[in-house]
Amino acid sequence: MKRYFNEIIAMTTRLLIEILRMRRGLIFWVVFPTLMLLLFGFIYAGGNSTTKSFDATAPGILIGAALFFSCLGGPVTLIVAERERRTLRRLLVSPLKPISYFFGIVTTYLIIAFGQSVIVYGIAFIFGGRFHGSLLLGLLIIVLSVFSFVGAGFYFGARFTRRTEDVNGPVAAFGVPLLVLGGTFFPVSILPPFLLKLAYIDPIFHMNQALKGVSALGKGAGDIFIHLIALGIFTVLSLFLGAQSYKSMLHQEKKGSI
Protein backbone atom coordinates (compact mmCIF):
# COMPACT_ATOMS: atom_id res chain seq x y z
CA MET A 1 0.00 0.00 0.00
CA LYS A 2 2.85 2.36 0.93
CA ARG A 3 4.45 1.66 -2.41
CA TYR A 4 1.29 2.66 -4.29
CA PHE A 5 1.04 5.79 -2.18
CA ASN A 6 4.66 6.73 -2.93
CA GLU A 7 4.18 6.13 -6.65
CA ILE A 8 1.02 8.27 -6.72
CA ILE A 9 2.83 11.06 -4.86
CA ALA A 10 5.77 10.84 -7.30
CA MET A 11 3.44 11.00 -10.31
CA THR A 12 1.43 13.88 -8.85
CA THR A 13 4.55 15.87 -7.96
CA ARG A 14 5.97 15.36 -11.44
CA LEU A 15 2.76 16.36 -13.18
CA LEU A 16 2.24 19.44 -11.04
CA ILE A 17 5.80 20.61 -11.70
CA GLU A 18 5.29 20.08 -15.44
CA ILE A 19 1.94 21.86 -15.45
CA LEU A 20 3.29 24.79 -13.43
CA ARG A 21 6.25 25.11 -15.80
CA MET A 22 4.06 25.02 -18.92
CA ARG A 23 2.47 28.29 -17.95
CA ARG A 24 0.46 28.77 -21.13
CA GLY A 25 -1.92 25.89 -20.39
CA LEU A 26 -2.23 26.94 -16.78
CA ILE A 27 -3.05 30.53 -17.70
CA PHE A 28 -5.70 29.28 -20.13
CA TRP A 29 -7.26 27.14 -17.40
CA VAL A 30 -7.54 30.25 -15.20
CA VAL A 31 -8.26 33.00 -17.72
CA PHE A 32 -10.91 31.17 -19.75
CA PRO A 33 -13.31 30.33 -16.88
CA THR A 34 -12.70 33.74 -15.32
CA LEU A 35 -13.66 35.58 -18.49
CA MET A 36 -16.61 33.28 -19.16
CA LEU A 37 -17.87 33.72 -15.62
CA LEU A 38 -17.63 37.50 -15.80
CA LEU A 39 -19.23 37.58 -19.25
CA PHE A 40 -22.17 35.33 -18.48
CA GLY A 41 -22.53 36.72 -14.97
CA PHE A 42 -23.02 40.22 -16.36
CA ILE A 43 -25.11 39.06 -19.36
CA TYR A 44 -27.60 37.27 -17.13
CA ALA A 45 -27.64 40.15 -14.65
CA GLY A 46 -28.90 42.32 -17.49
CA GLY A 47 -27.71 45.51 -15.80
CA ASN A 48 -29.36 44.60 -12.46
CA SER A 49 -27.87 43.08 -9.34
CA THR A 50 -25.29 40.40 -10.12
CA THR A 51 -26.01 38.33 -7.01
CA LYS A 52 -28.44 35.89 -8.60
CA SER A 53 -26.72 35.70 -11.96
CA PHE A 54 -23.34 34.82 -10.42
CA ASP A 55 -25.08 32.30 -8.16
CA ALA A 56 -26.49 30.60 -11.24
CA THR A 57 -23.53 30.85 -13.61
CA ALA A 58 -20.66 29.84 -11.30
CA PRO A 59 -21.46 26.07 -11.22
CA GLY A 60 -21.89 25.77 -15.01
CA ILE A 61 -18.72 27.73 -15.67
CA LEU A 62 -16.78 25.62 -13.17
CA ILE A 63 -17.92 22.38 -14.82
CA GLY A 64 -17.90 23.46 -18.48
CA ALA A 65 -15.26 26.12 -18.83
CA ALA A 66 -12.85 25.03 -16.11
CA LEU A 67 -12.98 21.31 -15.27
CA PHE A 68 -13.93 20.20 -18.78
CA PHE A 69 -10.82 21.70 -20.37
CA SER A 70 -8.37 20.94 -17.56
CA CYS A 71 -9.56 17.50 -16.45
CA LEU A 72 -10.55 16.12 -19.85
CA GLY A 73 -8.22 18.02 -22.21
CA GLY A 74 -5.31 17.74 -19.74
CA PRO A 75 -5.13 13.92 -19.59
CA VAL A 76 -5.60 13.67 -23.37
CA THR A 77 -2.61 15.98 -23.91
CA LEU A 78 -0.63 14.17 -21.23
CA ILE A 79 -1.13 10.71 -22.73
CA VAL A 80 -0.24 11.96 -26.20
CA ALA A 81 2.90 13.63 -24.83
CA GLU A 82 3.94 10.45 -22.98
CA ARG A 83 3.59 8.47 -26.19
CA GLU A 84 5.33 11.03 -28.37
CA ARG A 85 8.26 11.44 -25.99
CA ARG A 86 8.39 7.67 -25.49
CA THR A 87 8.36 8.15 -21.73
CA LEU A 88 5.34 5.86 -21.51
CA ARG A 89 7.54 3.04 -22.77
CA ARG A 90 10.11 3.83 -20.12
CA LEU A 91 7.43 3.78 -17.43
CA LEU A 92 6.24 0.42 -18.74
CA VAL A 93 9.70 -1.00 -18.16
CA SER A 94 9.68 0.36 -14.62
CA PRO A 95 7.81 -1.25 -11.72
CA LEU A 96 5.25 1.61 -11.74
CA LYS A 97 1.75 0.13 -11.53
CA PRO A 98 -0.83 1.34 -14.07
CA ILE A 99 -3.24 2.03 -11.21
CA SER A 100 -0.67 4.35 -9.57
CA TYR A 101 -0.21 6.09 -12.91
CA PHE A 102 -3.96 6.63 -13.21
CA PHE A 103 -4.46 7.80 -9.65
CA GLY A 104 -1.42 10.07 -9.95
CA ILE A 105 -3.20 11.80 -12.83
CA VAL A 106 -6.53 11.90 -11.00
CA THR A 107 -4.89 13.39 -7.88
CA THR A 108 -3.16 16.04 -9.98
CA TYR A 109 -6.40 17.08 -11.64
CA LEU A 110 -8.26 17.00 -8.33
CA ILE A 111 -5.75 19.55 -7.04
CA ILE A 112 -6.18 21.63 -10.18
CA ALA A 113 -9.98 21.30 -9.90
CA PHE A 114 -9.78 22.50 -6.32
CA GLY A 115 -7.75 25.52 -7.42
CA GLN A 116 -10.19 26.29 -10.23
CA SER A 117 -13.16 25.95 -7.85
CA VAL A 118 -11.57 28.45 -5.46
CA ILE A 119 -10.95 30.90 -8.32
CA VAL A 120 -14.45 30.56 -9.87
CA TYR A 121 -16.28 30.78 -6.56
CA GLY A 122 -13.89 33.50 -5.33
CA ILE A 123 -14.81 35.70 -8.30
CA ALA A 124 -18.50 34.84 -7.98
CA PHE A 125 -18.26 35.79 -4.29
CA ILE A 126 -16.89 39.24 -5.18
CA PHE A 127 -20.00 39.87 -7.29
CA GLY A 128 -22.40 38.60 -4.67
CA GLY A 129 -22.64 34.93 -5.62
CA ARG A 130 -22.72 32.38 -2.81
CA PHE A 131 -22.52 28.63 -2.35
CA HIS A 132 -25.91 27.94 -0.76
CA GLY A 133 -25.94 24.18 -0.21
CA SER A 134 -23.76 21.59 1.44
CA LEU A 135 -20.05 22.10 0.68
CA LEU A 136 -19.46 18.40 1.18
CA LEU A 137 -22.10 17.50 -1.39
CA GLY A 138 -20.65 20.07 -3.79
CA LEU A 139 -17.22 18.53 -3.26
CA LEU A 140 -18.61 15.06 -4.01
CA ILE A 141 -20.07 16.31 -7.31
CA ILE A 142 -16.77 17.94 -8.26
CA VAL A 143 -14.80 14.80 -7.37
CA LEU A 144 -17.16 12.59 -9.40
CA SER A 145 -16.95 15.05 -12.31
CA VAL A 146 -13.13 15.02 -12.18
CA PHE A 147 -13.06 11.19 -12.18
CA SER A 148 -15.55 11.16 -15.05
CA PHE A 149 -13.57 13.69 -17.11
CA VAL A 150 -10.21 12.02 -16.45
CA GLY A 151 -11.68 8.62 -17.41
CA ALA A 152 -13.04 10.14 -20.63
CA GLY A 153 -9.67 11.85 -21.17
CA PHE A 154 -7.94 8.46 -20.97
CA TYR A 155 -10.47 7.07 -23.43
CA PHE A 156 -9.98 9.84 -26.00
CA GLY A 157 -6.23 10.06 -25.41
CA ALA A 158 -5.68 6.34 -25.87
CA ARG A 159 -8.24 5.75 -28.59
CA PHE A 160 -8.31 8.77 -30.91
CA THR A 161 -5.11 10.72 -30.54
CA ARG A 162 -1.62 9.74 -31.58
CA ARG A 163 -0.02 13.15 -32.04
CA THR A 164 -0.29 16.53 -30.32
CA GLU A 165 -2.10 17.91 -33.36
CA ASP A 166 -4.85 15.32 -32.86
CA VAL A 167 -5.79 16.55 -29.39
CA ASN A 168 -8.08 19.46 -30.24
CA GLY A 169 -10.16 17.50 -32.76
CA PRO A 170 -11.92 15.00 -30.50
CA VAL A 171 -12.19 17.45 -27.60
CA ALA A 172 -13.88 20.03 -29.84
CA ALA A 173 -15.95 17.55 -31.86
CA PHE A 174 -17.39 15.61 -28.91
CA GLY A 175 -16.92 17.97 -26.02
CA VAL A 176 -18.21 21.36 -27.10
CA PRO A 177 -21.66 20.07 -28.28
CA LEU A 178 -21.96 18.23 -24.95
CA LEU A 179 -21.14 21.47 -23.10
CA VAL A 180 -23.86 23.38 -24.95
CA LEU A 181 -26.40 20.58 -24.56
CA GLY A 182 -25.49 20.20 -20.90
CA GLY A 183 -26.56 23.77 -20.09
CA THR A 184 -23.10 25.10 -19.38
CA PHE A 185 -23.63 28.50 -20.95
CA PHE A 186 -27.43 28.66 -21.33
CA PRO A 187 -30.16 27.43 -19.01
CA VAL A 188 -31.57 24.08 -20.17
CA SER A 189 -35.06 25.59 -19.89
CA ILE A 190 -34.55 27.15 -23.33
CA LEU A 191 -33.88 23.75 -24.93
CA PRO A 192 -36.67 22.35 -27.14
CA PRO A 193 -38.23 19.17 -25.63
CA PHE A 194 -36.38 16.72 -27.93
CA LEU A 195 -33.02 18.27 -27.05
CA LEU A 196 -33.92 18.25 -23.38
CA LYS A 197 -34.58 14.51 -23.64
CA LEU A 198 -31.24 14.11 -25.39
CA ALA A 199 -29.56 16.12 -22.62
CA TYR A 200 -30.35 13.34 -20.15
CA ILE A 201 -27.70 11.17 -21.75
CA ASP A 202 -25.16 13.99 -21.56
CA PRO A 203 -22.97 13.61 -18.43
CA ILE A 204 -22.26 17.34 -18.38
CA PHE A 205 -26.00 18.01 -18.04
CA HIS A 206 -26.07 15.97 -14.83
CA MET A 207 -22.89 17.56 -13.49
CA ASN A 208 -24.34 21.01 -14.12
CA GLN A 209 -27.78 20.23 -12.74
CA ALA A 210 -26.35 18.58 -9.64
CA LEU A 211 -23.89 21.37 -8.87
CA LYS A 212 -26.37 24.14 -9.73
CA GLY A 213 -28.95 22.48 -7.51
CA VAL A 214 -26.61 22.34 -4.53
CA SER A 215 -24.68 25.55 -5.12
CA ALA A 216 -27.27 27.99 -6.42
CA LEU A 217 -30.50 26.56 -5.00
CA GLY A 218 -29.26 24.94 -1.79
CA LYS A 219 -30.78 21.57 -2.65
CA GLY A 220 -29.90 18.43 -0.72
CA ALA A 221 -28.79 14.99 -1.90
CA GLY A 222 -32.39 13.75 -2.10
CA ASP A 223 -33.39 16.56 -4.49
CA ILE A 224 -30.58 15.87 -6.92
CA PHE A 225 -30.63 12.12 -6.44
CA ILE A 226 -31.32 11.33 -10.11
CA HIS A 227 -28.39 13.50 -11.26
CA LEU A 228 -26.09 11.96 -8.68
CA ILE A 229 -27.04 8.45 -9.81
CA ALA A 230 -26.58 9.41 -13.48
CA LEU A 231 -23.25 11.05 -12.66
CA GLY A 232 -22.18 7.95 -10.74
CA ILE A 233 -23.08 5.72 -13.71
CA PHE A 234 -21.22 7.99 -16.14
CA THR A 235 -18.22 8.05 -13.84
CA VAL A 236 -18.08 4.25 -13.64
CA LEU A 237 -18.65 3.97 -17.40
CA SER A 238 -15.98 6.50 -18.32
CA LEU A 239 -13.50 4.93 -15.90
CA PHE A 240 -14.24 1.53 -17.42
CA LEU A 241 -13.85 2.81 -20.99
CA GLY A 242 -10.74 4.76 -20.03
CA ALA A 243 -9.18 1.71 -18.35
CA GLN A 244 -9.98 -0.54 -21.32
CA SER A 245 -8.56 1.93 -23.87
CA TYR A 246 -5.53 2.52 -21.69
CA LYS A 247 -4.93 -1.23 -21.42
CA SER A 248 -5.15 -1.67 -25.17
CA MET A 249 -2.80 1.30 -25.67
CA LEU A 250 -0.29 -0.20 -23.25
CA HIS A 251 -0.52 -3.46 -25.15
CA GLN A 252 0.31 -1.62 -28.38
CA GLU A 253 3.15 0.27 -26.72
CA LYS A 254 4.55 -2.93 -25.28
CA LYS A 255 4.60 -4.58 -28.65
CA GLY A 256 6.49 -1.65 -30.13
CA SER A 257 8.10 -2.28 -33.47
CA ILE A 258 9.37 -5.69 -34.48
Binding site: R90, L92, V93, I258
Partner: protein
Protein backbone atom coordinates in the same frame (compact mmCIF):
# COMPACT_ATOMS: atom_id res chain seq x y z
CA UNK B 1 24.44 -12.99 -15.02
CA UNK B 2 21.80 -12.98 -17.78
CA UNK B 3 21.30 -16.10 -19.79
CA UNK B 4 18.99 -16.14 -22.80
CA UNK B 5 18.25 -19.66 -23.93
CA UNK B 6 16.44 -20.81 -27.09
CA UNK B 7 14.13 -17.83 -27.28
CA UNK B 8 11.35 -18.14 -29.85
CA UNK B 9 8.90 -15.41 -30.77
CA UNK B 10 6.49 -15.17 -33.68
CA UNK B 11 4.06 -12.52 -34.78
CA UNK B 12 1.39 -14.37 -36.73
CA UNK B 13 3.21 -16.51 -39.25
CA UNK B 14 6.38 -14.48 -39.05
CA UNK B 15 9.10 -15.99 -36.89
CA UNK B 16 11.00 -13.07 -35.42
CA UNK B 17 13.23 -14.93 -32.94
CA UNK B 18 14.29 -18.45 -33.72
CA UNK B 19 15.98 -20.19 -30.80
CA UNK B 20 18.02 -17.15 -29.85
CA UNK B 21 20.63 -17.78 -27.16
CA UNK B 22 23.34 -15.65 -25.58
CA UNK B 23 24.86 -14.89 -22.19
CA UNK B 24 26.03 -11.63 -20.67
CA UNK B 25 28.25 -11.56 -17.61
CA UNK B 26 29.49 -8.86 -15.23
CA UNK B 27 32.10 -6.50 -16.69
CA UNK B 28 31.03 -7.41 -20.23
CA UNK B 29 29.65 -5.25 -23.01
CA UNK B 30 27.78 -7.57 -25.35
CA UNK B 31 27.05 -6.04 -28.76
CA UNK B 32 23.93 -7.30 -30.45
CA UNK B 33 24.15 -6.37 -34.11
CA UNK B 34 21.94 -7.13 -37.03
CA UNK B 35 20.09 -5.61 -39.93
CA UNK B 36 16.69 -3.95 -39.46
CA UNK B 37 14.03 -6.57 -38.80
CA UNK B 38 16.53 -9.13 -37.52
CA UNK B 39 14.86 -9.25 -34.09
CA UNK B 40 16.91 -6.83 -31.98
CA UNK B 41 13.95 -4.76 -30.78
CA UNK B 42 11.89 -7.86 -30.05
CA UNK B 43 14.79 -9.24 -28.01
CA UNK B 44 15.00 -5.99 -26.03
CA UNK B 45 11.23 -5.94 -25.52
CA UNK B 46 11.31 -9.48 -24.14
CA UNK B 47 14.27 -8.72 -21.88
CA UNK B 48 12.43 -5.65 -20.59
CA UNK B 49 9.39 -7.83 -19.86
CA UNK B 50 7.29 -5.87 -22.34
CA UNK B 51 6.69 -8.92 -24.53
CA UNK B 52 6.39 -12.58 -23.69
CA UNK B 53 8.46 -15.12 -25.57
CA UNK B 54 6.60 -18.06 -27.11
CA UNK B 55 9.34 -20.46 -26.02
CA UNK B 56 12.70 -20.43 -24.30
CA UNK B 57 13.85 -18.99 -21.02
CA UNK B 58 15.72 -16.04 -19.62
CA UNK B 59 17.56 -16.29 -16.34
CA UNK B 60 18.81 -13.23 -14.52
CA UNK B 61 21.20 -14.05 -11.70
CA UNK B 62 19.72 -17.55 -11.81
CA UNK B 63 16.09 -16.38 -11.50
CA UNK B 64 13.56 -16.53 -14.32
CA UNK B 65 12.66 -13.17 -15.87
CA UNK B 66 9.51 -11.81 -14.22
CA UNK B 67 7.99 -8.69 -12.70
CA UNK B 68 10.09 -9.47 -9.62
CA UNK B 69 13.37 -9.37 -11.53
CA UNK B 70 12.46 -6.12 -13.32
CA UNK B 71 14.61 -4.10 -10.92
CA UNK B 72 17.72 -5.96 -12.10
CA UNK B 73 17.42 -4.47 -15.58
CA UNK B 74 17.93 -0.90 -16.68
CA UNK B 75 16.77 0.16 -20.11
CA UNK B 76 18.05 3.12 -22.13
CA UNK B 77 15.86 3.66 -25.18
CA UNK B 78 17.21 5.14 -28.36
CA UNK B 79 14.97 8.18 -28.03
CA UNK B 80 15.55 10.74 -25.29
CA UNK B 81 12.70 9.59 -23.11
CA UNK B 82 12.88 11.79 -20.06
CA UNK B 83 10.60 14.62 -18.97
CA UNK B 84 11.70 17.74 -20.76
CA UNK B 85 9.98 20.21 -18.44
CA UNK B 86 11.78 18.75 -15.43
CA UNK B 87 15.39 19.44 -14.50
CA UNK B 88 18.00 16.68 -14.59
CA UNK B 89 17.76 16.30 -10.83
CA UNK B 90 13.95 16.22 -10.86
CA UNK B 91 14.00 13.50 -13.50
CA UNK B 92 16.40 11.43 -11.40
CA UNK B 93 14.29 11.95 -8.28
CA UNK B 94 11.10 10.99 -10.11
CA UNK B 95 12.51 7.78 -11.56
CA UNK B 96 14.11 6.94 -8.20
CA UNK B 97 10.68 7.15 -6.56
CA UNK B 98 9.15 4.99 -9.28
CA UNK B 99 11.83 2.38 -8.57
CA UNK B 100 10.97 2.44 -4.88
CA UNK B 101 13.81 4.58 -3.49
CA UNK B 102 12.76 6.87 -0.69
CA UNK B 103 14.14 9.57 1.59
CA UNK B 104 17.89 9.79 2.07
CA UNK B 105 18.52 6.74 -0.11
CA UNK B 106 16.85 8.53 -3.04
CA UNK B 107 18.80 11.75 -2.51
CA UNK B 108 22.06 9.81 -2.14
CA UNK B 109 21.57 7.85 -5.36
CA UNK B 110 20.53 10.99 -7.26
CA UNK B 111 23.68 12.79 -6.13
CA UNK B 112 25.84 9.78 -7.00
CA UNK B 113 24.49 9.76 -10.55
CA UNK B 114 24.91 13.51 -10.89
CA UNK B 115 28.58 13.06 -9.93
CA UNK B 116 29.09 9.99 -12.11
CA UNK B 117 27.63 11.66 -15.19
CA UNK B 118 29.26 15.03 -14.49
CA UNK B 119 25.86 16.67 -14.40
CA UNK B 120 26.66 19.04 -11.50
CA UNK B 121 26.54 22.11 -13.69
CA UNK B 122 23.21 21.08 -15.20
CA UNK B 123 21.45 19.38 -12.30
CA UNK B 124 18.96 22.25 -11.95
CA UNK B 125 18.65 22.95 -15.67
CA UNK B 126 15.51 21.89 -17.50
CA UNK B 127 16.18 18.97 -19.84
CA UNK B 128 14.72 20.93 -22.74
CA UNK B 129 17.70 23.32 -22.46
CA UNK B 130 20.36 20.60 -22.78
CA UNK B 131 22.35 19.79 -25.91
CA UNK B 132 22.69 16.33 -27.52
CA UNK B 133 25.51 14.84 -25.43
CA UNK B 134 24.01 16.00 -22.12
CA UNK B 135 20.60 14.71 -23.15
CA UNK B 136 22.16 11.30 -23.78
CA UNK B 137 23.81 11.43 -20.36
CA UNK B 138 20.58 12.09 -18.51
CA UNK B 139 18.83 9.49 -20.69
CA UNK B 140 21.34 6.89 -19.48
CA UNK B 141 21.50 8.18 -15.90
CA UNK B 142 17.76 7.72 -15.24
CA UNK B 143 18.09 4.06 -16.24
CA UNK B 144 20.60 3.58 -13.43
CA UNK B 145 18.64 5.01 -10.49
CA UNK B 146 17.93 1.52 -9.16
CA UNK B 147 21.53 0.29 -9.68
CA UNK B 148 20.62 -2.46 -12.17
CA UNK B 149 22.92 -5.41 -12.79
CA UNK B 150 22.16 -5.40 -16.50
CA UNK B 151 21.90 -2.29 -18.63
CA UNK B 152 20.30 -2.42 -22.07
CA UNK B 153 21.51 0.36 -24.34
CA UNK B 154 19.64 0.84 -27.60
CA UNK B 155 21.69 2.98 -30.00
CA UNK B 156 23.15 5.11 -27.19
CA UNK B 157 25.06 7.53 -29.41
CA UNK B 158 22.68 7.88 -32.36
CA UNK B 159 22.85 11.39 -33.77
CA UNK B 160 25.76 12.57 -31.63
CA UNK B 161 28.85 14.43 -32.80
CA UNK B 162 32.24 12.73 -32.46
CA UNK B 163 33.24 14.44 -29.23
CA UNK B 164 29.96 13.65 -27.47
CA UNK B 165 30.14 10.10 -28.77
CA UNK B 166 33.58 9.60 -27.21
CA UNK B 167 32.28 10.94 -23.89
CA UNK B 168 29.36 8.49 -23.91
CA UNK B 169 31.72 5.63 -24.80
CA UNK B 170 33.88 6.55 -21.84
CA UNK B 171 30.82 6.50 -19.58
CA UNK B 172 29.74 3.11 -20.89
CA UNK B 173 33.20 1.73 -20.22
CA UNK B 174 33.10 3.15 -16.69
CA UNK B 175 29.79 1.39 -16.08
CA UNK B 176 31.28 -1.85 -17.34
CA UNK B 177 34.29 -1.41 -15.05
CA UNK B 178 31.85 -0.91 -12.16
CA UNK B 179 30.49 -4.41 -12.79
CA UNK B 180 27.38 -3.69 -14.85
CA UNK B 181 26.70 -6.18 -17.63
CA UNK B 182 25.75 -4.24 -20.75
CA UNK B 183 23.74 -5.25 -23.79
CA UNK B 184 24.40 -2.78 -26.58
CA UNK B 185 22.55 -2.59 -29.86
CA UNK B 186 23.95 -0.29 -32.46
CA UNK B 187 24.14 0.27 -36.18
CA UNK B 188 27.51 1.97 -35.76
CA UNK B 189 29.96 -0.85 -36.21
CA UNK B 190 32.83 1.30 -35.05
CA UNK B 191 31.01 1.69 -31.74
CA UNK B 192 30.65 -2.06 -31.33
CA UNK B 193 34.26 -2.57 -32.36
CA UNK B 194 35.49 -0.05 -29.79
CA UNK B 195 33.26 -1.05 -26.87
CA UNK B 196 32.18 -4.67 -27.03
CA UNK B 197 34.13 -7.54 -25.58
CA UNK B 198 31.69 -9.94 -27.17
CA UNK B 199 29.59 -9.44 -30.28
CA UNK B 200 26.58 -11.40 -31.46
CA UNK B 201 25.39 -10.91 -35.01
CA UNK B 202 21.69 -11.50 -35.42
CA UNK B 203 20.11 -12.58 -38.66
CA UNK B 204 16.51 -13.66 -39.10
CA UNK B 205 16.05 -14.10 -35.39
CA UNK B 206 19.09 -16.16 -34.49
CA UNK B 207 22.74 -15.49 -33.75
CA UNK B 208 24.76 -16.36 -36.83
CA UNK B 209 28.11 -15.35 -35.39
CA UNK B 210 29.31 -14.69 -31.87
CA UNK B 211 32.61 -13.99 -30.17
CA UNK B 212 35.30 -11.41 -29.63
CA UNK B 213 36.41 -9.33 -32.60
CA UNK B 214 39.47 -11.55 -33.08
CA UNK B 215 37.30 -14.66 -33.04
CA UNK B 216 34.87 -13.15 -35.51
CA UNK B 217 37.71 -12.18 -37.87
CA UNK B 218 38.22 -15.89 -38.50
CA UNK B 219 34.82 -15.97 -40.21
CA UNK B 220 36.09 -13.89 -43.09
CA UNK B 221 38.28 -16.02 -45.37
CA UNK B 222 40.93 -13.33 -45.68
CA UNK B 223 43.94 -11.89 -43.94
CA UNK B 224 43.70 -8.59 -45.73
CA UNK B 225 41.18 -6.86 -47.98
CA UNK B 226 41.56 -4.85 -51.15
CA UNK B 227 38.82 -2.48 -52.21
CA UNK B 228 39.05 -1.91 -55.93
CA UNK B 229 36.97 0.03 -58.45
CA UNK B 230 37.33 -0.21 -62.19
CA UNK B 231 35.28 0.51 -65.32
CA UNK B 232 36.19 -3.01 -66.44
CA UNK B 233 34.83 -4.97 -63.50
CA UNK B 234 34.55 -8.23 -65.39
CA UNK B 235 38.33 -8.30 -65.96
CA UNK B 236 38.82 -7.62 -62.26
CA UNK B 237 36.64 -10.57 -61.36
CA UNK B 238 38.42 -12.84 -63.84
CA UNK B 239 41.83 -11.84 -62.49
CA UNK B 240 40.71 -12.39 -58.89
CA UNK B 241 39.43 -15.82 -59.86
CA UNK B 242 42.68 -16.70 -61.54
CA UNK B 243 44.54 -15.63 -58.37
CA UNK B 244 42.22 -17.85 -56.32
CA UNK B 245 40.86 -14.87 -54.36
CA UNK B 246 37.24 -14.63 -53.33
CA UNK B 247 35.49 -11.35 -53.92
CA UNK B 248 32.32 -9.54 -52.83
CA UNK B 249 30.55 -6.64 -54.44
CA UNK B 250 29.81 -3.81 -52.03
CA UNK B 251 28.35 -0.65 -53.51
CA UNK B 252 30.34 0.46 -56.55
CA UNK B 253 33.46 -1.41 -55.48
CA UNK B 254 34.74 -4.92 -55.45
CA UNK B 255 36.17 -6.22 -52.21
CA UNK B 256 38.86 -8.83 -52.70
CA UNK B 257 39.52 -11.26 -49.86
CA UNK B 258 43.27 -11.84 -49.86
CA UNK B 259 44.61 -14.98 -48.15
CA UNK B 260 47.90 -13.28 -47.25
CA UNK B 261 49.34 -9.80 -46.75
CA UNK B 262 50.55 -7.81 -49.73
CA UNK B 263 51.80 -4.30 -50.23
CA UNK B 264 49.74 -1.92 -52.34
CA UNK B 265 52.38 -2.08 -55.06
CA UNK B 266 52.15 -5.88 -55.16
CA UNK B 267 48.36 -5.81 -55.51
CA UNK B 268 48.49 -3.18 -58.27
CA UNK B 269 51.06 -5.34 -60.05
CA UNK B 270 48.71 -8.35 -59.84
CA UNK B 271 46.05 -6.32 -61.68
CA UNK B 272 48.33 -4.89 -64.35
CA UNK B 273 46.73 -4.19 -67.73
CA UNK B 274 43.39 -3.44 -66.04
CA UNK B 275 42.43 0.22 -65.72
CA UNK B 276 41.84 0.79 -61.97
CA UNK B 277 40.00 3.92 -60.82
CA UNK B 278 40.70 3.37 -57.11
CA UNK B 279 42.37 0.84 -54.85
CA UNK B 280 42.93 0.64 -51.12
CA UNK B 281 44.02 -2.03 -48.67
CA UNK B 282 42.56 -2.61 -45.24
CA UNK B 283 42.46 -5.11 -42.41
CA UNK B 284 39.43 -7.21 -41.70
CA UNK B 285 37.15 -5.19 -39.44
CA UNK B 286 33.70 -5.63 -38.00
CA UNK B 287 32.14 -4.09 -41.08
CA UNK B 288 33.46 -6.88 -43.32
CA UNK B 289 32.58 -9.52 -40.75
CA UNK B 290 29.07 -8.13 -40.48
CA UNK B 291 28.61 -7.99 -44.24
CA UNK B 292 30.07 -11.46 -44.61
CA UNK B 293 27.78 -13.15 -42.08
CA UNK B 294 24.60 -11.22 -42.90
CA UNK B 295 24.83 -11.51 -46.70
CA UNK B 296 22.19 -13.59 -48.41
Amino acid sequence: MIKVHDLVKSFGNKIVLDKLSFTINHHVIYGLLGPNGSGKTTTINILCNLLEADEGKILIKGNPLSEKTKHLIGFVPQEISVYHELTCKENLLFFSSIYGLQGSEKIKRTNELIQMFNLNEYENVKVTKLSGGWLRRINIAVALVHSPSILILDEPTAGLDVEARYEIWELINTLKDNGVGILLTTHQLEEAERLCSCIGILKKGCIVAEGSLDELRLLVPAIQLALIASEDEQSLRNRAKSLGWEYRRYGDRLMLLMPERYTLKEVVYKFENIQLSSISLQDVGLEQIYLEVTRE
